[in-house]
Subunit: 131 residues, 2 copies
């Protein structure tokens, strides 16, 4: 069963080593196995969890909710709570995407206006100083 050093786990998950430690301290990631000397060895499962945490972070889930999810994950009997948490988050993500798309449309309109304005100005210059 393969395991990974902190450096490898960081590279594979995209989190920094410091962030990995921070998540573990915060109870976001359950305690990682150690060598006799006390160094961390990340399991495949840890990597899987990290990958999903990345998904949650990238969709803007705040640390406090990540922690709650982490705590719930320690208890097998909390499936429905976890589902509720994720469903709620999915709603938030959908709202964020909608919001972003609306504002993107606005941004594009502004750009259109700017392009028109630039065209108008260069046309004016052409008339004042033809050729």
């Amino acid at each position: 069963m393969t395991t990974y050093s902190p450096a490898e786990a960081a590279r594979l998950s995209g989190f920094s080593i410091d962030t990995l430690r921070y998540y573990e301290r915060e109870g976001i990631l359950s305690p990682v196995a150690r060598t006799v000397g006390g160094r961390r060895r990340y399991s495949e499962d840890d990597l899987g969890r990290l990958s999903f945490l990345r998904c949650l972070r990238d969709t803007g889930m705040p640390i406090a909710q990540l922690r709650r999810y982490g705590e719930l994950s320690l208890d097998e009997s909390t499936l429905s709570e976890r589902v509720a948490l994720l469903e709620e988050h999915e709603v938030a993500v959908r709202a964020a995407i909608d919001e972003l798309r609306g504002q993107q449309a606005r941004l594009r309109e502004k750009l259109e206006w700017y392009r028109g304005e630039m065209a108008r100005r260069s046309a004016l210059v052409a008339r004042v100083a033809p050729e």
Copy 2:
């Protein structure tokens, strides 16, 4: 020509009064007209600018770029720079939306898995303790 008090401008723009002052100090919003007594009176134009600033902030443009846009807007001859800035931002917004949608798909898959898992477990319980 209508003008607005700080409180009105805040309500209409969705920024707090403190944020409005902060933006002005930072050169993000050009200096707002004052009464003889020194109180701010926001013009329609100011409100329009604020509304667009809201669009930029809501799409994640950092303060430093907002400031740059604000500074460029003081000079009539910087249309093309402003367009370049906004175009670059539009690319970033598109990337953010794409990223978000990808992760949203991932989140939905996980939810599907959880739902299946819950169904499996309740089926198991039903078999162990029928009726």
